[in-house]
Amino acid sequence: MNKEEKEKSMPQGPLLESWIKASTDFWKSAESMWPATFGGISPVPGETGKEEGDKSAEDSWKMFSEIWQALFNLINKPVTGEFHPVSSLPEWILKASQPLWSGYLLFQKQLMGGEEKVSAGELEGFANLAQKMTKAWLEMYENEFGKILNMPQLGLTRAYQERVNQTIEKFIQFRGGLTEFMQILLIPMEKAYNAVQEEIKNVEKQGEEALKDSKAYYQFWIKKMEESYMVLLRSPEYIETLGNTMKALHDFRIAKSQLFMDILQDLPIPTHRDMDELYKDLYLLKKRVKELEKKVKSYER
């Protein structure tokens, strides 16, 4: 198949092709990482049963990877005859979905980049990797999918649809904020763990048996973690993340509440807004009555 034929069979052009390639590369690299990554969870040498288990899991992974590649090879092939399922997709759908494809591609590229950095030792640990992934995902969302949610709505149901979109958007932003907040909270755990690893290495260097007194190591870990938290919880980064998360929570709750009010107005159920108006009236009335009661009492005396 020459290049021209290939492009004809795939009207979405090189974009989908490059995405497929990137996906395949990504999962291939994950496959090559298998022994060190998943095999490393319980590295107990000599346990044949465990190794067999790992082998079987690795085989399943390879099989999955092969199916994935086969699927995309199939899509890549030129389709002849009466049916042209992929090429027969209307062009506008493919164009409309372009932002999603490119966004996903960008996300994947950033992930691959992040992996390289981890390997090069610029980033270390789960917290930083997870933070990188969240940021990449949020960036992709804001640049691509988020824009779709903010498209102007038209017609009679305009306001309702806008509130649905707003709720979805605020929810995604809140989840992103919360994930970042949780990730920042993981940093002291990781630091404390590294400190313990260092301590164990030092003890072993001195020829002593490591983990002889696990309680002492635990206390050391907790102490290090506490110290690390005390620094983190006062840091401007933490306070900024806390503020951002609370803001995102507020925005989401307000959007959700407005959406629920739309839903509830068709049901015989009062909304928070209805009840709050009543409560306010009740509060003011009670206050007035209490003041008058006090006045009457003072006159009686």
Partner: protein
């Protein structure tokens, strides 16, 4: 051979495995020991436990909306001429003062013959969201004080405030000094312009208007989450590791469960009160600057002229000493005393060491200043009113 360029998931997941691995490596070290441990733990957890809190009998003598006034009858004849009113914070509940028999501040006061009243703020619902500081202080509190004064046919009473309840009491006492005979503040924040406590720092980062708009009343669970985040390593991990280590000890488990019941029994905070509290105190620090106005009246600390005892804790992570120790310098009283105890925020009321110091000190101090009939039998009162600052002596880990 491990490729150095590849990410090792076990290393990434290390922190999560740490606590679990260490606990279980200890447990499985000795199979017989492990068996006994599990058998005892099972026995303890399945046995009936007495984990009720606040078991000292009381009578509800006044009710207004959700707010109740509890009256505790003394075990002996009343030794004070003036009744004693305690105002707890709206965060958590006053049941902390009566956590368990033998370690109850309420019991100590009743044994000493105090006529004890305590405000129970109850559980605010959405209809309470518009209640302000003024409604709580010049409304509920003032009505309760009037009720007690009328019941006893006297013109003043002894007042003790705890934590946020102490701040309410400071405002009340400055606005109605004629109704207060003697005033005690315990772990009461009055100066909020300090970075010693994390709460002070965080409170400036959040927007109370947004929280109130989106939640209405502020959920107790959100407050509790904030308190847990003050020290996640100890309060979310180490505490429960300690529980697992002692789960085969019946008394330990019983006490632990009681404390858990109290800690997580957190009423929501009325929205407007929360908004005002954060804005007036944490953000503007109006009280100690003598710039606060409540219900249209200026809260002048110089109007606090009765004897004042200000107790706080050296290792308090919620209300640091710097939040408490300026108060007595700003008031008009001549007979005033600062007492810094060697403990933490809650330890001041429940730790067995401080328990022997805290209650008896208050009883002595009140007896010396009550002007009661039995005063002659007690230690003679201080000859002259004095202003003192007493610091904790020894260094000890706080709660």
């Amino acid at each position: 051979m491990k490729d150095e360029k590849q990410v090792n998931l076990s290393e990434m997941m290390g922190p999560f495995k740490m606590a679990g691995d260490l606990i279980f490596s200890r447990l499985v070290g000795d199979t017989a020991k492990l068996y006994n441990y599990l058998r005892d733990a099972r026995e303890v957890l399945l046995s009936p436990m007495k984990t009720d809190i606040a078991t000292t009998p009381y009578e509800v003598v006044y009710e207004e909306d959700r707010v109740k006034l509890k009256y505790y009858k003394p075990d002996t004849e009343t030794r004070l001429k003036h009744p004693f009113l305690i105002v707890y914070a709206q965060v958590n509940r006053e049941t902390m003062l009566d956590l368990q028999p033998g370690r109850s501040v309420v019991e100590t006061f009743l044994r000493a013959g105090l006529d004890l009243y305590m405000i129970d703020w109850g559980y605010p619902t959405r209809k309470d969201r518009y209640l302000t500081l003024d409604d709580h202080i010049n409304g509920y509190m003032d009505n309760i004080v009037d009720f007690i004064l009328e019941k006893h046919n006297i013109s003043s009473l002894h007042l003790m405030g705890i934590c946020q309840g102490g701040t309410f009491c400071v405002i009340y006492t400055a606005l109605h000094p004629e109704k207060i005979k003697n005033f005690i503040t315990t772990v009461t924040p009055t100066n909020f312009d300090t970075d010693a406590g994390l709460l002070n720092i965080w409170a400036r980062a959040i927007n109370p208007d947004e929280l109130v708009e989106s939640y209405g009343n502020i959920p107790g669970d959100i407050m509790n989450l904030g308190f847990l985040l003050l020290n996640p390593a100890r309060l979310m991990i180490d505490k429960y590791v300690g529980f697992l280590e002692n789960v085969n000890n019946f008394d330990f488990v019983e006490n632990f469960v009681r404390m858990e019941k109290w800690i997580f029994d957190s009423p929501d905070l009325p929205a407007e009160t929360f908004r005002e509290f954060i804005t007036y105190f944490f953000r503007k620090n109006l009280l100690i600057k003598n710039e606060l106005e409540i219900g249209g009246k200026k809260v002048d600390l110089k109007k606090i002229t009765m004897p004042v005892l200000n107790i706080y804790a050296k290792y308090d992570h919620l209300v640091p000493t710097t939040a408490c120790d300026q108060f007595t310098d700003k008031i008009g009283s001549k007979d005033k005393e600062d007492l810094c105890l060697d403990t933490g925020h809650i330890g001041i009321y429940v730790s067995s060491k401080t328990h022997k110091e805290f209650g008896p000190k208050i009883i002595r101090w009140l007896l010396e200043r009550d002007g009661a009939v039995e005063q002659a039998q007690q230690k003679p009162a201080a000859k002259k009113p004095v202003a003192r600052k007493i610091q904790a002596k020894a260094k000890a880990p706080g709660k």
